[in-house]
Structure formats: structure tokens, C-alpha cells
């Protein structure tokens, strides 16, 4: 299909089908896979292949790991979604909350697109339902005139509904969820009889995400909080794991683009990820303290810098990402043009990069020399 990015259930259709064919465990009501199979979809099969028949062909399918460093959390999240509680993933921006939410929804119900984006402009009818006003005027309230929003569809069809950045939505709009989450029912007072009552079918649940940096979860009412099980998604703690994630994600983003053939060497990848890892952690790997930037130096931002550096190398250089290409992207992509963060980035080069450059470690010397590109 010609699309910039496919939803997880389409991107990973082969993996999901292979898991379905190799799933001996009981499935929670309304789920496409068992809890164990959903877990394997998220944490991967550790390199071992599953035998499956896809489109009439016998194939071996290795399920890739989707997230790192949070395996116990994955189990809790899956069990929560099989219970009557909703799941709220919270954490710093760029810690793969939405990514995890999308993949959980894809594995559980094969549909990750029943999603709402929290914002100040989000209204109740974008969550529950609205009307086709032409039909409404012509026929009066009827199921035909009702335009279902994600929550309505999720309840009616027994699907997972996703609510991104839930704490950015106005308080009263958030509370629209209360009845659906506690009583598993949505009333449509405009419709008479059975049409006016939507009872949630097995398989319905909701995954919310909220980041802890710009607006806290305190914005949620206590009543709504009680309907959720909270899970804090941590940043990737292991440098090597983070390097692998960035490598894989950059490769995926550049697939089919001019940057697909670009070389992103291990040495450049290492200094890129180390920069993010150290600035996020507030100290160098050697323990020298650093001031943290305002911007979230998340893995997602590192991927973004890597992606842009690869595009730059493809368009304006010889096809290999150099340290200077990384530096060029740091200001706009990572520091977001913030003047204080720029200063911290420059300090970082003096405190952390310079000593490595002096020891001529890997590409650090070229990286240090490229600091001139920082505004």
C-alpha cells in the first residue's frame, strides 16, 4: 500500500498471523491472541522462528522485539487490559508510550486506529459520537444519522480504544470516559429503545497515554484515575539497547526514501546515542555531572536526529553520515531552538566530548570539531 506509515496491525501483519497460528493458550474474551502471544508480539521471540502458513506458503517468522527494558510492565499492562480497568501509560516524552499502545491494540484486537488525540480543542462528540446533520434534519435521530467516534465504536465492537495525551484534554472532556470505563455502557439519549444503550462488548478497553513533562497527570479527576491502572514507562537505561533501537528505527524510517542506502556507522551511532543518553541522565558515562536540557532527550528524539542526519547525508553529502551531520541536527531536532538548551549543548561538547576527542576515541574527534555547526 502506498502510505508513509502503516498502522502496526498492517506493518506487522505477518508476525501477528504467525503468532495466531502458534497460540495454544486460552484467549481473553474478545481478544485475537492469548495474553502470552500478545506478550511475545511485544517482546519478540528472542530470535527463534515460528512456523506459519502465510498466503498459502510455509514460512518461518521471527517476531521482533518492539520495546526494551520494560518486560514486567508489559505483563502488567496486558493483564490490566484483560481486566475491567483501563491502562494509562505515563512517562517522559519519547519513551515509546504511543508506540507500545499502538502495538498492544494491534495485537489484542487487530485495530490500532480507534485513537483520539488529547488537546485543548478536543470535544465530547469527538470521543463519543456526533451526527450527520443532513440526515438528522431529514430523518430525525436515528442510528443511520449517528456518526460514531472511537469510544462508541470500541464499545460496540469490543475493541481497544486509544486516547493519546489524555491529560491535555479538558477536564470535563476526560470525564466523558467515566461511565464507559466504570459501567461499560454509553447512553445515547437521542435514540429510543435498544439503540439508545450501547453495552460494551468483551474485548473493549482503553489505553491512555500522558507525558509527565508538560502537563502532569494531576489534571485528571480522582474519579477517573480510579478507573485506570497506571504504568510508568521508563527511558531505555541500557546504552547498547538504545543504540540498537535507534539503529533499527532509523533504518525503518529511511526505508524507501533517498536515505535508504546511506551508511550510518557504528561509531557515529554510538556518539549520537551517547549524547542523548548522557544529557538525559544528567551525567557522562564517566560520572561527570551535566546539566539536563529542557528538551526531552528521548530515544525518539535520537531517532529523529539520526533520521535527519541520514537524509542530509543522502541529499548533500557522499552517502555516509558523518559526525558533523549529527551536530547539524542537534539544535533544531533535539534542543528545539531553545537558547538555554543550546548553551547546555555547547557545554556538553566542552565537558564530555572534548576529553574523548583528546584521546582520539572513535569519531569523537570529528564530532568535537563539528561543534562549530552549533549556533
Amino acid at each position: 500500500m502506498d502510505a508513509i506509515r502503516l498502522p502496526a496491525e498492517q506493518r506487522c501483519a505477518v508476525e501477528l498471523e504467525a503468532l495466531r497460528q502458534n497460540d495454544p493458550d486460552p484467549r481473553p474474551l474478545g481478544w485475537l491472541l492469548s495474553a502470552r502471544a500478545v506478550e511475545r508480539f511485544i517482546v519478540g521471540t528472542g530470535g527463534s522462528a515460528l512456523s506459519a502458513t502465510i498466503d498459502g506458503e510455509d514460512v518461518q517468522v521471527v517476531v521482533r522485539r518492539k520495546v526494551f527494558g520494560m518486560d514486567p510492565l508489559i505483563r502488567r499492562a496486558i493483564v490490566t487490559l484483560a481486566s475491567d480497568r483501563a491502562l494509562l501509560l505515563i512517562g517522559e516524552p519519547g519513551t515509546a508510550k504511543s508506540w507500545l499502545s499502538e502495538h498492544l491494540a494491534a495485537a489484542i484486537c487487530g485495530d490500532s486506529l480507534l485513537a483520539m488525540q488529547g488537546s485543548a480543542g478536543l470535544t465530547e462528540d469527538q470521543i463519543r459520537y456526533t451526527w450527520n446533520y443532513a440526515l438528522l434534519l431529514a430523518e430525525g435521530p436515528s442510528p443511520r444519522a449517528l456518526v460514531a467516534a472511537p469510544l462508541y465504536t470500541g464499545m460496540k465492537n469490543g475493541r481497544i480504544v486509544r486516547f493519546e495525551e489524555i491529560t491535555r484534554a479538558p477536564h470535563e472532556v476526560q470525564d466523558t470516559l467515566l461511565q464507559a470505563l466504570s459501567e461499560k455502557v454509553m447512553l445515547v439519549p437521542e435514540l429510543a429503545g435498544a439503540d439508545g444503550v450501547v453495552l460494551a462488548r468483551p474485548g473493549f478497553n482503553l489505553i491512555g497515554t500522558a507525558n509527565t513533562r508538560d502537563r502532569g497527570v494531576n489534571e485528571m479527576s480522582a474519579a477517573l484515575k480510579r478507573r485506570f491502572h497506571f504504568e510508568t514507562v521508563p527511558p531505555i537505561d541500557d546504552l547498547q539497547q538504545e543504540i540498537e533501537v535507534v539503529r533499527e528505527q532509523v533504518a525503518e524510517r529511511t526505508r524507501g526514501s533517498p536515505a535508504e542506502q546511506v551508511t550510518l556507522g557504528d561509531d557515529v551511532l554510538e556518539l549520537l546515542v551517547t549524547t542523548f543518553h548522557e544529557l538525559r541522565g544528567g551525567s557522562t558515562l564517566d560520572g561527570v555531572p551535566l546539566e539536563r536540557t529542557q528538551a526531552a532527550m528521548s530515544t525518539a528524539e535520537a531517532v529523529s536526529v539520526g533520521h535527519h542526519a541520514a537524509l542530509y547525508a543522502a541529499c548533500f553529502a557522499d552517502g555516509a553520515v558523518q559526525p558533523e551531520h549529527v551536530v547539524m541536527q542537534l539544535d533544531g531536532t533535539a534542543a528545539k531552538g531553545d537558547s538555554d538548551d543550546r548553551k547546555l549543548l555547547r557545554d556538553y561538547f566542552e565537558v564530555a566530548v572534548k576529553p574523548r576527542a583528546a584521546r582520539e576515541l572513535g569519531a569523537w574527534k570529528a564530532y568535537f570539531a563539528a561543534r562549530r555547526h552549533l549556533p
Partner: protein, 780 residues
């Protein structure tokens, strides 16, 4: 190919046949167990009650056998701690070795002893003596450990669980109550058989020794009871080997200082001994005994955790507890086996259902409260006749004698040490308790800690006369006292033992001085002669200047105490001073990191010399000169010596300035060392610098002659050098410099004259112009 194990006649490749042989032994009922397993405890009791053996032999060190009557006493209630202690003289220094065994209600070993005694059987502990086990400990064989780990991993993968604990819960604990004892124990023997015989690697030396001894004790019992059947309760790993082994007695060397002790303990204390969540283990056992499901125990725990969170101010409702129970049950069901709920599942449930915000694993109040609930607070009990360890009796007797009240709130107690002997004794007791780490102190209101008064050991607040102590009953008081019981029969003895341990082996002068001070404040009279002797020896052998000056400080402080032999202290002061002076030149070539400490001690040494006329000042002056003239000395140290000599009047400010000028010549590295030299000078001649113009002028003259490039290079070092002054002093120096620039003479404290102010403004304009790049000739 069939392999043979160490046993003479067991086919290790046929586990089922092997297990059948073990289980059908006509003389011995081998009962394999896992420590602290509730399921094992339930089935041990069932088998013993059904078969009524004439003797019950339990894996546990035979050193503890005298305690068995108290262990099985009807009034005894775990948690308990059994302790074995002995003195190991095999090394250079004799060391006291202590080994503890926590005893829980759900321990199959304790249940075996208790039920065996109830049934009238002979009950015995049959493991090798602790001392023999320790002597044989040659480390665990790595290959064997790895092969066992591989086997458990493969087993886990086969049944779809990740770790052994979860496998254990799924396979044994979750359904223990419903399984027959035969099924349960045969399954356990099969598991142990696989672990023991599936991989390579030899047994550790101590394991082999223990098993031979266990077997020997079994053989002894078989001879003793030729017509009866006996039950042997051991770890499952041993149970699959013991039937096929040959026995050999393990002997331990006699030790008249060896001792054993049984004391009532608490769930919190046994958690520290390695049983992670005793209350959860006991709750599950109790549920099994009452025929309830593990989920019932889990529910009770999570409800209690919710209440604990509420008591701590958290907002956790019944609905959250319901959510937590669902989650714990769901985790067990979806990723293990229904009902196989582990403590980690309960904590996972708390993480998800109770924490309504960002999770901080170590500090989250819900998790902290839940962990406390899983650990528990229950205390064990022993019959009165069993007595309390003497140290605990002594502690409470002392508390009463000194009229200390240990309550939940901090209370303040005063000790007028120098004037009232009773309060001196109270102070000594409190110092001993502090030395032993007894949790009975709380912060005093408005103070930094639990103590305000002259702190001899740290050398702080020595002007104070009265000690103030904040005293409270700490949470772990009983447990810590219990841990200390082997140190002696009284608090005095225990404190002496701890201090003597610190003094064991070679000790440097600083530590010897510190120990002597501690001995004095704790008033450990019997130890004082040996502490003094140790300090004397250390002063003669320690070549560290820093240590010697610290020891000198400690001995000087001790002169406050009239009870100590004054003549001996004087002698120690002289000795420490002379030794410090003698080693000073050799300590001056210290590296940059250690220089500041040496300078600090040089200043302290000079202060002692100034205050005590009996000390040889000429010796000190001579040694300072040696350092000052040694070009290889660390510059900070060297500068400090020059500054001191100037302050003492042994040299002139002009000479110091000349030396500074010399140190600022040469290559860049040398110039930068000049900054450190100046810092040393200023640290030791600060008052001279402030009150005498001559040194300031001399330094100023050196600085203005420096080429601008060199000056900029050493500027950071100079800034650090001048950091010894407080802002008011810097202002005063600034005034003097301005006056000097303007050609004024006289003391700056007469105030800044109008002319000087004009000069200052001119200088300021010049600096501004240079900074703006309009540098021209500087004129004032």
C-alpha cells in the same frame, strides 16, 4: 549411555526408577523439602502424622541440638533466630564467626521437629557442625552451578515460565493442598533428580562433607532403632543422593568459646537474614492449613497493603484493592498457573493499581507500605524458662539504672560529664550504644543530629561542657540487640569487643588515636592500657605525616580527661609531635590531590607548637625550612611553609615574594605551579598578609612584572589562591592595593581617601577600555 552417579548403585539416567527407589525405602522415609516452603511444610506434617516414625531427623547443624527442646516447646512461636558462634583461629588474627538461621512458622524443618516431638518421636538435627562446614568450604563448583542453572532454565522454558521461583509456585505451591503427599514428594524428588544428575561438575567440598555427615547420622539412627522406621527431612537436592551415599562423620575442632543461642525474633529481622517476605510466606501457609486458596491469602495481603497506604496518607480505596487482586490473579493465570501467586505478583498489582502517578520504585509510598506488609511485623516468642540473652537483660537493666526512657517520641537527656559521676556513667553507656549501632537515638529539635555537646572523637564543639542526647525507641531495637548478643554478655563487653576488633591487626596512628578517644568516651577502662600501647606503637611505626598530626590532636584532646595518666599523655604528645616534624620533609612531595590535607595538618602542627611550650619549636622551624628550600616539594605545601616561616618571623615578606617570583619563572607548567605556591603562602600567612603591607607589596610587585600572557594563564590559580579571604578581607586588600598604586603609605584601615578613590576610578576606566579593545598605555 547410562552414567553412574557417585552412589555405588544408582542409574542416574532413569529418574523415575531412582525416585521410586528413594520413596520405597523400607527403613527411611526420605522427605525432600525446599526451605521456607509452605507446601512442603503441609505435606511433611501430613506424612509424619500418617506414618508416625520413631525418629525424625532434620537437616540443621547439630551444634543447635541443645536448643531443640525450646524449638519444640508448646509456648514457642516463630519467628525465631538460632545462632552459632565460634572463634576461627586459622588466619593471622582470630576472628569471631557467627551464623544465623531464621525460623518461620512455615518452615518444613521446624514443622518436622514440632510434629515429631508432638508424636513422641526422637527429634534430631543431623547436619555437620558449622565449624567443620566452614573449614571445608572451598567454593561452589562453577560448572555444576552453571549446569543446574541451565537445567532449571530449560525446565522453565518447557513449561513457559521465565524463572525458577515462578515455576516452583506453579508446580508445587499453587496446588500443594490438593495434591497427595506421595504425588507432591515424588514430583519434588524428580525435580531434584534432574537438577542433580543432569549436568556435569563436581560437588563443592562442603556439600560433600555435609552429605557424608548427614548419611552417617542416618546410619547411627538406623542402628539405634533397628525395628522402626525413621523420617529424614532434608533439602531435596540432598534427598536424592543420601540414600545411595556412604556415611562419614565430620569432626570439628573443639572451641571453648563456641556458643549457641535461640532467641525470639521478628518477621522484619528474619527478612534481613534472607527470607524476603516472611509475612506472605506465613500467610500462605496459614491459608493452606485452613484449606483456603492462595488467592485468599493474596487478597488479605493486598487489602492490608491498601490499609497501610491509607494510614500513610495515600488515597487507595476498596475498588483499587479489588483491581489489585484482579491483577495479581490475572498475572498468575495468564503467565503462570491459576493460583500460583508470588510476592512479585502482589507488588506488581500494587504498582499498577495503587500508584496513581509516576512510579518511583524505591520511594513510592504505596510500594514501601506494601513491602512492609509483605515483610510483616509479627514477633516470635519463647517460654520464659528459655530466658533472654544476657546482653538484652543487661541493656534494659542499664536503661533503667540511667533513668532513660525509650518511647516513641524523642526525649532529651543531659549528661554533665565533668561534674557528676552518675551522668558520666550515663554518657559512657550512651556512647557505647552509639558505638554498637543500637537504634535508640533520634534527632534533637533544632539540632543537626541526636547529639549536642563536646564531640571528642570528631574534635567538634569542644568548648561545651554538657552533652545532650536525643533518645527514642528505634524500630529495630530488639533485632539489633539480638544481633549483638554474641558480642558479649553486657553492653560494656560488646562495646569492648567491637573496639578490640577495630584494633586487631596493624593500625595506623590516626586510627589508634581515634580508637583511644572512643575507648575513653565509652569508658572502657579495661581496654585503655592496650589502646594506649597500640597508639604508642603506631606513633613509632606510622610514617604518614597526616596520621601523626591527627593522632597528636587526639592525644591533646584527651588531656581534658583527668582519669588518664597525665605523664603518659604528655609523653605521647611529645612523641607524636617529634615524629610528625621528622616525617614532614618526606611528606612534602605529596601529589596535588593530597597537598591540601598536608597543608591543613602543617597549620595544625604549628598551632600545637604555639600553644604548648614544651614542644620543640626549633625542630618545627628547622623542618619547615627543609621543605621551603626543597624545590621538589609540592608547591602548595612549599608555599604554606614559606608563609608559616614568614608568620613566625623566621623570614621576611620580601624573601617570600622573591621565592614567589622564582616560582613564576620558566615554562608554563612552572608558572602555573606559582599559583599553587601563592595559595600555600596565603593559607598560612593570611593575617600577615592582611596586617602587613610589605608582603602585599612584594606579591603585587611580582604580579605586575609578569608578562600579560603569563598573567592570564595563572589568573585562575591566583583567583583560587585569594579565595582564602572572605569578601570583607578582599575589600581591604583591594584598598591597600589602590593605595599602593597611588603611592600612598600607611595602613588602609584609616579609610579610603578621596585621592585613592580617584585612582580607583581611573584604574576602573582603564580596565573597561582594555576590555572594550581600546587598550592604550595604562597610567594612573
Amino acid at each position: 549411555m547410562a552414567r553412574r552417579g557417585r552412589a555405588a548403585s544408582v542409574e542416574v539416567d532413569d529418574p523415575r526408577a531412582g525416585v521410586a527407589r528413594v520413596w520405597s525405602d523400607p527403613r527411611v522415609r526420605w522427605l525432600p523439602v525446599r526451605h521456607h516452603s509452605a507446601g512442603c511444610a503441609i505435606h511433611v506434617e501430613r506424612v509424619l502424622r500418617a506414618e508416625r516414625p520413631c525418629a525424625v531427623l532434620v537437616e540443621g547443624p547439630e551444634d543447635l541440638e541443645p536448643l531443640v527442646p525450646w524449638l519444640v516447646h508448646p509456648e514457642t512461636r516463630p519467628p525465631l533466630v538460632a545462632l552459632v558462634a565460634y572463634t576461627d583461629s586459622s588466619g593471622e588474627q582470630p576472628t569471631r564467626v557467627r551464623t544465623s538461621w531464621p525460623v518461620l512458622r512455615c518452615d518444613p524443618e521446624w514443622v518436622a521437629l514440632k510434629v515429631g516431638a508432638e508424636l513422641g518421636a526422637v527429634v534430631r538435627l543431623i547436619d555437620a557442625p558449622v565449624r567443620a562446614i566452614h573449614a571445608a568450604a572451598g567454593g561452589v563448583d562453577g560448572e555444576r552451578t552453571a549446569s543446574e542453572a541451565r537445567w532449571f532454565q530449560a525446565l522453565g522454558a518447557k513449561v513457559g515460565v521465565r524463572d525458577f521461583d515462578l515455576f516452583w509456585e506453579s508446580a508445587f505451591e499453587a496446588n500443594a493442598a490438593e495434591m497427595s503427599s506421595e504425588q507432591f514428594f515424588q514430583a519434588l524428588l524428580l525435580l531434584a533428580w534432574g537438577a542433580r544428575y543432569s549436568g556435569g561438575g563436581a560437588l563443592g567440598e562442603s556439600t560433600a562433607l555435609r552429605e557424608a555427615h548427614l548419611r552417617w547420622r542416618v546410619d547411627q539412627a538406623l542402628s539405634e532403632f533397628p525395628d522402626g522406621r525413621i523420617a529424614v527431612v532434608t533439602g531435596a537436592f540432598h534427598a536424592v543422593a543420601l540414600p545411595f551415599l556412604r556415611g562419614k562423620r565430620a569432626k570439628a575442632r573443639a572451641d571453648k568459646n563456641a556458643g549457641v543461642l535461640l532467641a525470639a525474633s521478628s518477621e522484619r529481622a528474619v527478612a534481613k537474614l534472607g527470607v524476603r517476605y516472611p509475612a506472605w510466606a506465613n500467610a500462605r501457609y496459614q491459608a493452606m492449613q485452613q484449606g483456603k486458596r492462595p488467592l485468599d491469602a493474596a487478597t488479605a495481603m493486598l487489602v492490608e497493603a491498601g490499609r497501610a497506604v491509607r494510614r500513610a496518607g495515600g488515597a487507595v480505596g476498596t475498588a483499587d484493592a479489588v483491581g489489585a487482586v484482579q491483577l495479581a490473579a490475572g498475572l498468575a493465570e495468564r503467565f503462570g498457573r491459576p493460583g500460583a501467586i508470588t510476592a512479585e505478583h502482589l507488588l506488581d498489582a500494587v504498582r499498577a493499581a495503587f500508584v496513581k502517578g509516576e512510579l518511583h520504585e524505591d520511594t513510592d509510598p504505596s510500594l514501601v507500605a506494601a513491602r512492609k506488609v509483605l515483610v510483616g511485623q509479627a514477633r516470635g516468642a519463647l517460654p520464659d524458662e528459655a530466658g533472654r540473652p544476657p546482653l538484652i537483660e543487661d541493656f534494659w537493666a542499664e536503661v533503667r539504672a540511667h533513668r532513660l526512657e525509650l518511647g516513641d517520641d524523642v526525649r532529651e537527656f543531659h549528661c554533665d560529664v565533668e561534674r557528676q559521676s552518675k551522668q558520666r556513667a550515663r554518657s559512657a553507656f550512651l556512647h557505647r550504644c552509639e558505638l554498637l549501632g543500637i537504634p535508640m537515638f533520634g534527632d534533637l529539635p533544632g539540632a543537626d543530629g541526636h547529639f549536642v555537646g563536646p564531640d571528642l572523637v570528631e574534635g567538634k564543639e569542644l568548648h561545651r561542657l554538657i552533652e545532650k542526647w536525643g533518645v527514642v525507641r528505634g524500630d529495630d531495637l530488639d533485632d539489633v540487640l539480638l544481633e549483638l548478643t554474641d558480642r558479649g554478655e553486657t553492653i560494656l563487653e560488646a562495646a569492648g569487643a567491637v573496639l578490640a576488633e577495630r584494633m586487631a591487626g596493624p593500625i595506623d596512628a590516626a586510627n589508634a588515636g581515634r580508637c583511644l578517644l572512643t575507648g575513653v568516651v565509652c569508658w572502657l577502662r579495661s581496654l585503655l592500657p592496650s589502646l594506649l600501647a597500640a597508639l604508642r606503637t603506631a606513633l613509632g611505626t606510622d610514617g604518614s605525616f597526616v596520621n601523626l598530626v591527627q593522632a597528636l590532636h587526639d592525644v591533646v584532646v584527651l588531656r581534658r580527661y583527668p582519669d588518664l595518666p597525665a605523664g603518659e599523655l604528655d609523653q605521647l604528645v611529645l612523641s607524636a609531635f617529634e615524629r610528625a616534624c621528622l616525617v614532614l620533609p618526606s611528606s612534602s612531595r605529596v601529589d596535588d590531590d593530597g597537598a591540601a590535607e598536608v597543608v591543613e595538618q602543617i597549620i595544625a602542627l604549628s598551632r600545637f607548637a604555639a600553644e604548648d611550650r614544651t614542644l620543640d619549636r626549633r625542630l618545627l622551624s628547622d623542618r619547615l625550612w627543609r621543605v621551603a628550600r626543597d624545590a621538589e616539594s609540592q608547591p602548595l605545601v612549599r608555599g604554606a611553609c614559606w608563609g608559616l616561616l614568614s608568620s613566625l618571623g623566621a623570614t621576611t615578606p620580601r624573601a617570600v615574594a622573591g621565592e614567589l617570583a622564582n616560582s613564576l619563572r620558566g615554562p608554563l607548567a612552572e608558572v602555573r605551579r606559582g599559583g599553587a605556591f601563592l595559595e600555600g603562602v596565603l593559607r598560612t600567612s593570611r593575617s600577615t598578609f592582611l596586617t602587613s603591607e610589605r608582603l602585599l607589596e612584594a606579591v603585587h610587585d611580582v604580579l605586575i612584572r609578569l608578562p600579560e600572557q603569563d598573567f592570564l594563564l595563572v589568573l585562575p590559580d591566583f583567583r583560587r589562591a585569594f579565595a582564602v579571604f572572605v569578601p570583607a578581607e578582599l575589600e581591604r586588600i583591594g584598598e591597600q592595593v589602590v593605595l599602593h598604586l597611588a603611592g600612598f603609605r600607611g595602613e588602609a584601615d584609616q579609610g579610603l581617601s578621596v585621592a585613592a578613590a580617584e585612582v580607583a576610578r581611573a584604574a576602573d576606566r582603564s580596565v573597561q577600555a582594555r576590555l572594550a579593545g581600546r587598550a592604550g598605555p595604562t597610567t594612573y
